[in-house]
Amino acid sequence: YSKCPDIMPMQRKFFTRRAFSTSRILNAQQMTVRDALNAGLDEEMERDERVFILGEEVAMYDGAYKVSRGLWKKYGDKRVIDTPITEMGFAGIAVGAAMAGLRPVCEFMTFNFSMQAIDQVVNSAAKTFYMSAGVVNVPIVFRGPNGAAAGVAAQHSQCFGAWYSHCPGLKVLSPYSSEDAKGLMKAAIRDPDPVVLLENEILYGAAFPMSDEAMSKDFIVPIGKAKIERSGNHITLVAHSKAVELALEAAKQLAGEGIECEVINLRSIRPLDEETIVKSVIKTNHLVTVEQGWPQCGIGSEICARIMEGEAFYHLDAPVVRVTGVDTPMPYTKSLEAAALPQPHDVVRAVKKVLGGRLWTVIN
């Protein structure tokens, strides 16, 4: 466990021991995802005075989840702006400001509330560059926590990865680690097109090692490139956001049984790094996708379709299995909530199903 004094006591119960990635850590400084997002925002605001933040409680309250802590104090009313509870209105204003040359970072307190403003995100932001044949750019970032939290029930727990990644004209990012968070935040703000940055509330308090490179002010994680968190030969696990942690945990358990998983952290869901997935599947011949969102038309569905349509299909030794959240609205009570979301043992079961009769061959 890392010390994260700013997290509500309730959330500490949801920490698990993290499986560190196998990439080299030059100088292991620990940083929470929250602080990494904050650093990304701070550095980009310092670098470019067109960047400003707006949303509910982002200024004086320091952010509903403290992601924008300290920024209002540092940059003032002009650049960190509290809005009324009117998503459609302030998201529209943010898009208009972007069209006119500013670089807004528009926070949705959670992405559930973005549904109120989704017309502005899709019809005004995403499509305008295309409709105007390049005359009007919309360099906006929509950010906020996405997906399941803890005990917040159905209306506050939906994952919007599938919804937004469906739309051409949007870039959709989903960080897992602190490096992802900072690098993708900075890349999103510098990007000339609309970006949806899907954060995760449970991960805000999680600490990860940050390399020296990641600590620098010019550190960017490229959009559209996945990261291989863990190398393996037997099966590929593809996940984004919190599900990467599940996959890594499952991989750890399976390693104890001699099954080596290759875990891919997508980082971007649109554009999807198909190349990295295909290359991995060609190597391992087996694939399981892991996500917290609902199964129908989800990220896993898209990956399955692309694998089927391409070269990787012929390298599969077994059909792909998707591990997803259960196809129901999120229940409140703890036991049902845990059952509604994928757990590491669900991933382990899926891996064993896919590897099936090959298990004996694999272990040997």
């Binding site: 019809n123 305008t128 004209g169 097109d193």
Partner: protein
């Protein structure tokens, strides 16, 4: 009934000329407009308006061009060379021309989909507008936008979702304030859109943050086929901003529109925050080309407005009565019709549409053209 409203409006008073010199045209003339109605304002625009000869001729020319452009568009639509939606501005010309006349170079405007006239006023040549309407690659959006999605400098479209353009306009105005350009943004919407929740959301934010946004309700009496009275509990659109001051304007009088817009711009740029303007106008055609416009109103009503309150003919009368120009000079201007005929032919015969390889271009700023093409190929191969 809406038509009853129109009948009670009186015609404008006779002009007072400032000087006449041996029967030559005068240099400027002064007119009286209908009174403006004010909401939460102690004083409003002056009803005594002066216009120079140059400006009068210019405004007349622009209004006439828009009328001809829209007629050409209507004909091209009937020939099926313009497809999809086509919303004509005929009858409403005084609003756009009057507003544009008061705008400064660094002011912006955003509207909904009835914008062919605005696109022309903001700098796109009529040929460019027609080319875009007919989907040609020389159109201002290379044919990818069409009737509802045309953009140019300081003109943010061209928006298809009713009401969505108003928050966008407030955002453009916000950016002007943030960047210190002293610019304002006119955010236009119709009587139908005026009931949209998001508009009230931005009235609130604009007033709270002193955003230099001028909200303009072009009240042409109908939201598609629904009259204003059937859609709105309050048809006093200039008061709907509540705590945002408002002005009611005779939208068929280009000089009244110009005067009111000037007043509104002064208001916003002197730090007094946003303003609402309601411009009462009329559209001769239906909501769009697929609407004959006669199922929800009588032909007599349309005819009456054409005969008694047409913005172009009534302005022409004013010009001639005040001797700002001769009838021959004005006739020369109306020969623009011949120009448009040629342009229609050019558009029909010589202009081309974008090739399919452009389907995926401009989806994002840094397109990987190869990646786009390979996706496209996958889609096309069975």
């Amino acid at each position: 009934m809406f038509s009853a409203c129109f009948r009670t409006l009186t015609r404008h008073a006779k002009p007072r000329t400032s000087s006449t010199c041996n029967g030559y045209a005068t240099e400027a003339a002064t007119f009286e407009t209908k009174p403006f109605r004010l909401h939460k304002l102690d004083s409003g625009p002056s009803t005594t308006v002066t216009v120079t000869r140059t400006d009068a001729v210019d405004m007349y020319k622009k209004m006439h061009m828009i009328r001809r452009l829209e007629t050409a568009a209507g004909n091209l639509y009937k020939e099926k060379i313009i497809r999809g939606f086509c919303h004509l501005y005929s009858g409403q010309e005084a609003c756009a021309v009057g507003m544009k006349q008061a705008m400064r170079p660094h002011d912006s405007i955003i509207s909904a989909y009835r914008v062919h006239g605005w696109t022309y006023l903001m700098g796109v040549e009529p040929l460019g507008v027609l080319a875009e309407l007919t989907g040609r690659q020389s159109g201002c959006a290379r044919g990818k936008g069409g009737s509802m999605h045309m953009y140019t400098k300081n003109f943010y479209g061209g928006n298809g979702i009713v009401g969505a353009q108003v928050p966008l306009g407030a955002g453009v105005a916000f950016a002007a304030k943030y960047s210190g350009t002293d610019g304002v943004c006119l955010a236009l919407y119709g009587d139908g859109a005026a009931n949209q929740g998001q508009i009230f959301e931005v009235y609130n934010i604009a007033k709270l943050w002193d955003i230099p946004c001028i909200f303009v309700c072009e009240n042409n009496g109908y939201g598609m086929g629904t009259s204003a009275e059937r859609a709105s509990a309050s048809t006093q659109y200039y008061t709907r901003g509540d705590y945002v001051p408002g002005i009611w304007v005779d939208g068929m009088d280009v000089l009244a529109v110009r005067e009111a817009t000037q007043f509104a711009i002064n208001h916003c740029t002197s730090g007094k925050g946003p303003m609402v303007m309601e411009m009462v106008t009329y559209r001769y055609s239906g909501h769009s080309m697929s609407d004959p416009g006669t199922s929800y109103r009588t032909r007599e009503e349309v005819q009456e407005v054409r005969q008694t309150r047409d913005p172009i003919t009534s302005f022409r009368e004013r010009i001639l009565t005040a001797e700002l120009a001769t009838s021959d000079e004005l006739k020369k201007i109306t020969n623009v019709q011949k120009v448009l005929q040629t342009e229609k032919d050019i558009v029909k015969r010589r202009f081309h549409s974008l090739s399919v390889s452009n389907l995926a271009s401009e989806t994002s700023s840094r397109n990987n053209e190869t990646a786009q093409m390979s996706t496209l190929k996958k889609l096309l191969v069975v």
